[in-house]
């Protein structure tokens, strides 16, 4: 909402200066976004004379003009206007000027190869009229060459951001009322009307009882024999200050009243109305051409203003071209109506129209301001355009009763924390236009019709504290007391996995929850795609089903920047359905490139599956799962290399799935065109990590260390090539839990001396007893048992 100080002062008697007013506005909830000149610096537009015109060397329709603004210097300006000619006096805009119509800032530019310093303006470009056929022709201004065309300095405007609840402050008078309540000046009463209403109202108006009827009241005045014209300067300047274009006195007056009183109006050329006005629901498919020169096809049930034969306008939103007023218009019908906010909103949304009237009606216009609006506008029209006015006729409800709220004063202190007296409450509310009846401990408050936002006693409390000032609320120090844990188990895991991966050299990233469906498809097969209906761009069109979608996009971008050896991770949601909650938190990490690239000391090598496996296992252990409960298998999913990836389940291969890890499928790498194709990834599914029902201190066994010597025995088994070494280790480990302390594979060999379908696996077993030093005999016994059991369960033989 834009206001100017002089305009404000038409409603508010005050001595406060602009800064005081701006501060006050902000303090009472009318946030000032900025104070600036209305439409750029208008004083730079100078009256100028074209000394000479020449044809543009490269364009038939352009001319190169030598322009003088009085001094010795002349400016070369390229101009396309047909009326540009030697000796013409017109208006010149220098480089740097902002053209009011387009808000475009002029620069020195070459037009078809000829430099143009500035521009000669049409009336349209200066928002003076719609005339755009040629540049302005000024007569008898020879003596004023070099002077600013706009006499008055442009006005300072204040831009206020009005919250959606404060419809009443979409008019300058509403803002003045709020300011007066806060102690900045006094609200000036509106003048009484002084015109006669003797002529006849010649247009019948009616509101149908259609099912969606969005119009409650339709008030109008018939004004005959006017002579419409350009608005007088005072009015033109106001319209310009608002950033609007002056059109004609009649239209400017309706706009003026809308911004002045928050009372939208509409003027019809009465001679173009077919017999009568009918406010009704639209029929499916009806069409009409609006004043924005667009044709709209309507849906059923929109509120339209129609005559006998066609639609004249969308009530409260926009008028139509059929009955629009012109300079030639003689007789007008002036409308002041009330439309339901919900109806306005629905129609405007369905047709995607936004107008100043729609903006106001959907927030709630004062339903009892119909007469006031008609009076003020009619008086202005009669004064400027002449004519005779009829009596006002209101179809539908002519008056709405005001709401009454019973307000217990103590509720203020209960909610705000500081007391207020009944007298102070009454004083504030009265100054805002509320009528109060005082009880002992309560006020009976009548809500003015322009405040549709006030419905409950808390709304009154807000009014009171808003005017009294938030700064008066006493601060209560918070108690340092904690009754519940801050984080739950899953939240702790989230937090811990972040720190865990970052401490393993990964950079944490946060990417968008949506992604490119083309990429997402690569990583997620099976789950249904979740489309966003209105994505910001076509490559962010779905919710991600895989944590890899965005990670791979960004990994590639970094590779393209020249960073090939990278470790990235993100912890965030992936989605498996479009319903709320069909999502899970996934820890995703990718790692690409080489270890020790160009190192003087370490051997350079590609990252391999055991790098990523190591990170996932260590993290799961850090998240609280014992290593022996992590069951690794080669069950994998399609986005990984089928032979270089695996999964980790809890306690058994069929237990809850904790993680996947491995090389990203080479086909995907190729399709995504990675510069460094060696890419590994892992996913950890936080939701599958069970919360232990006991704390570590409750489950930790007492400390027992064996003082007896430990021994190591190495075995070399020849076993089927496809046999999983993880299973082999597990078999050995389970042979004797009390004696076998550790089992570890230290060599795997395939090739010479070993059958083609076999491999040799060297395993070291650590043995230790709690009760005694193991004798050779004991060791031989257990060794034999190991060999026998392994042979029995796997068919492996000992390598001789």
């Amino acid at each position: 909402m834009i206001i100017t100080l002089p305009w404000l002062k038409e409603h508010l008697k005050t001595k406060a200066n602009q800064n005081e007013i701006i501060d006050k506005l902000t303090n009472i909830g009318l946030e000032v976004e900025g104070a600036k000149e209305s439409s750029g610096e208008l004083s730079v537009f100078k009256i100028a004379k074209i000394l000479k015109t020449e044809k543009h060397p490269n364009a038939d329709k352009l001319k190169v003009c030598d322009v003088s603004v009085g001094g010795r210097e002349t400016f070369k300006v390229v101009c396309g206007a047909p009326n540009a000619r030697d000796g013409l006096i017109t208006i010149y805009a220098p480089p740097g000027a902002i053209i009011p119509k387009t808000k475009f800032k002029l620069k020195i530019a070459k037009i078809r190869g000829v430099e143009s310093r500035g521009m000669l303006c049409s009336e349209n470009e200066l928002n003076l009229s719609n005339e755009s056929d040629g540049i302005i022709e000024l007569k008898n201004k020879e003596s004023e060459i070099g002077k600013s065309y706009f006499k008055k300095k442009s006005e300072q405007v204040i831009d206020i951001s009005i919250t959606p609840n404060r419809a009443d402050c979409l008019g300058i008078r509403g803002i003045a009322r709020d300011l007066s309540s806060s102690g900045v000046g006094k609200l000036i009463p509106l003048k009484k009307k002084k015109f006669k209403q003797s002529s006849e109202h010649l247009i019948k108006t009616s509101i149908t009882k259609d099912p969606h009827q969005g119009c409650l009241s339709f008030g109008s005045c018939y004004i005959k024999d006017i002579s419409n014209k350009q608005s007088p300067d005072w009015l033109k300047n106001k319209i310009l200050a608002l950033g609007l274009k002056p059109i004609s006195a009649v239209v400017d007056i309706t706009n003026y009243v809308m911004f002045d009183l928050n009372r939208p109006l509409h003027a019809y050329d009465a001679d173009k109305i077919d017999e009568e006005i009918i406010v009704r629901d639209s029929k499916e498919g009806e069409e009409f051409e609006a004043l924005d020169s667009k044709k709209y096809k309507l849906k059923k049930g929109m509120c339209v203003i129609a005559d006998k034969s066609s639609i004249l306008g969308l009530g409260g939103i926009i008028g139509g071209t059929k009955t629009s007023t012109e300079f030639e218009t003689k007789n007008i019908l002036l409308e002041s109506a009330y439309f339901l906010p919900s109806s306005i909103r629905k129609t405007a949304r369905d047709l995607t129209i936004d107008t100043d009237a729609k903006y106001r009606f959907e927030r709630g216009i004062d339903p009892n301001s119909i007469i006031e609006g008609l009076e003020i506008a009619t008086e202005l029209i009669l004064n400027i355009c002449g004519g005779k006015a009829s009596k006002f006729i209101i179809s539908g409800k002519s008056f709405q009763k005001n709401k009454i709220i019973k307000f217990e004063i103590s509720k203020f202190e209960n909610l705000i924390g500081i007391p207020i007296s009944i007298n102070e409450s009454q004083k504030i509310l009265s100054s805002l236009g509320f009528k109060c009846k005082q009880g002992k401990k309560e006020l009976k408050v009548e809500i003015p019709s322009w405040r549709p936002d006030i419905n409950l006693d808390v709304d009154l409390i807000e009014e009171l504290i808003r005017i009294k000032g938030f700064k008066n609320i006493k601060l209560i120090e918070p108690e340092r007391k904690r009754e519940h844990e801050t984080l739950n188990f899953k939240q702790k895991l989230f937090h811990l996995s972040q720190r865990s991966f970052a401490s393993k050299g990964y950079l944490e990233t946060v990417t968008w929850s949506f992604t490119d469906s083309k990429i997402d498809k690569q990583f997620s097969k099976g789950e249904k795609e979740i489309q966003i209906l209105n994505p910001i761009s076509s490559d962010l069109d779905v919710l991600r089903r895989s944590i890899f979608s965005n990670l791979s996009i960004h990994l590639k971008k970094n590779q393209d920047r020249g960073y090939e050896d990278l470790s990235l991770f993100e912890i965030g949601p992936t989605f498996y359905g479009k319903n709320p909650g069909e999502q899970q938190i996934v820890v995703g990490a990718v790692k690409s490139g080489k270890i020790a690239r160009k190192s003087w000391i370490e051997k350079e090598r590609n990252i391999d599956v055991f790098d990523i496996k190591s990170d996932v296992i260590k993290t799961l252990i850090e998240l609280g799962i014992s290593e022996h409960n992590l069951i690794v298998s080669d069950n994998t999913k399609q986005c990984y290399h089928p032979g270089r990836s695996g999964s980790i389940n809890l306690k058994s291969e069929k237990g809850p799935l904790l993680a996947y890890f491995g090389e990203i499928h080479p086909a995907i790498i190729k399709r995504l065109d990675f510069k460094e194709p060696n890419v590994y990834g892992l996913e950890i599914f936080i939701k599958n990590i069970p919360e232990p029902n006991k704390k570590i201190r409750q489950t930790k066994k007492s400390f027992q260390a064996s003082d007896f010597q430990k021994s190591e025995r190495d075995f070399a088994f020849v076993i089927d090539k496809v046999y999983k070494i993880g299973s082999l280790e597990k078999i050995i480990r389970e042979i004797d839990n009390s004696l076998i302390q550790d089992v570890t594979t230290f060599d795997v060999y395939e090739g010479e001396k070993i059958p083609k379908d076999k491999k040799s696996v060297a395993i070291s077993v650590t043995l230790q007893s709690k009760d005694k030093t193991l004798s050779e005999k004991d060791l031989d016994q257990i060794s034999k048992k190991i060999i026998d059991v392994v042979k029995d369960k796997t068919g492996a033989t000992i390598r001789s």
Binding site: I416, E477, T486, G505, L543, S599
Partner: protein, 355 residues
């Protein structure tokens, strides 16, 4: 006795020429070996008369001790010389680089969420969460923003369904609804999380992070709200005093509603929070609207309280001098490295919020 003196001087004479471990071994054998001079003297002990034997034995033992000590001393001297000689050839240029490693980092948003959680943990708030996809009801209607409310225009919403019933939450406030409908008062939660608006330019990202706060109990007033936010802002920006102003505003789900500005100034192109004559809007808040409480079956005649919401990314930008919001989500290796945090810098109240 003379015999012993002779042995001793004999030893001294030879000992002077000891240069190496081998020399030392030889001298050891000569005097203490099986037929060594000292060993032989011990063998004579038996043939001595008892009164002489005692004295001789004592002298002999003393000499044995002395000579042994000398040998030991010499031994370590020689060892030292030998080690030093060896070390002379063991020079390595320690200014060479260490084995390659990668320094991991925590994203500023995560770090700031941890800081915030730590601060609110001190005054008894717990962290709550909710889904990113929300029903239109939880995101708007239950928050006192019915379908035809103009406030809905201020949220550029991503929709998942044509009938607009499913959407990406535009704020973290629907978690208020979820938490209250599933629990019993009092409620004291903060909700950090991802939020979405289809708006994208230099200062807006289509996804950003919000922090919601909710405290509902009997007798919670706007004074508590002020105290809570004053505490939070001081702790978060790690300053003793903060100029703060509450400005009336409007949110459909709070009444009264306010926006909070904090004072700041720019010094040497750096923003200084808490002092100065400029105001910076940093959050929105208010007393929870009775309609919201009714919608979650909490009796507004018995319970009341406050809610607030703020942009986490923005807080991170202010505190750590980050200019560009969009860079948060672009995963530029260089940016992550520059603004990321060491994983060991876990914000805690006893060790401090930040380095």
């Amino acid at each position: 006795m003379d015999e012993l003196k002779k042995i001793q001087s004999n030893f001294e004479e030879k000992f002077q020429n000891v240069k190496s471990k081998d020399d030392l071994q030889n001298i050891k054998t000569e005097f203490f070996g099986k037929n060594g001079q000292i060993t032989l003297q011990f063998k004579t002990l038996g043939s001595l008369q008892p009164e002489k034997r005692k004295e001789f034995a004592s002298n002999l033992n003393k000499i044995k001790g002395d000579l042994n000590d000398k040998i030991e001393l010499k031994n370590s001297e020689i060892e030292n010389i030998e080690i030093n000689k060896k070390l002379k050839n063991e020079n390595i240029d320690v200014t060479l680089p260490i084995r390659p490693y990668h320094q991991g980092k925590i994203h500023p948003v995560s770090q700031v969420i941890d800081e915030i959680s730590s601060i609110f943990s001190e005054i008894g708030f717990s962290v709550a969460e909710g889904p990113d996809v929300e029903s239109e009801y939880n995101n708007f209607t239950a928050l006192n923003t019915p379908e035809d409310h103009p406030a809905r225009d201020m949220h550029d919403t991503f929709y998942l369904e044509k009938n607009k019933k499913l959407l990406l939450r535009t704020h973290t406030s629907p978690v208020q609804i979820r938490s209250m409908i599933n629990g019993k008062p009092p409620f004291k939660i903060i909700v950090p999380g991802r939020t979405y608006r289809c708006d994208s330019d230099q200062t807006h990202a289509p996804m950003f992070h919000q922090l919601e706060g909710l405290h509902i109990d009997k007798n919670i007033t706007m004074g508590h709200l002020k105290g809570c936010l004053d505490y939070f802002i001081k702790e978060f920006f790690e300053v003793k005093n903060v100029k703060m102003r509450f400005r009336p505003s409007h949110f459909p789900f709070t009444e009264p509603s306010a926006e909070v500005d904090i004072g700041y100034k720019i010094e040497n192109e750096k923003i200084i929070i808490g002092e100065g004559n400029k105001w910076l809007e940093i959050l929105g808040c208010g007393m929870v609207h009775p309609n919201v409480l009714k919608n979650v079956k909490v009796d507004p005649r018995k319970y009341q309280g406050f809610a607030f919401g703020m942009g986490i990314d923005r807080l991170a930008m202010l505190k750590y001098g980050i200019n560009d919001l969009r860079a948060f989500f672009e995963t530029d290796y260089r940016w992550l490295n520059h603004f990321g945090f060491d994983p060991l810098d876990v914000p805690t109240n006893y060790r401090g919020l930040s380095k």
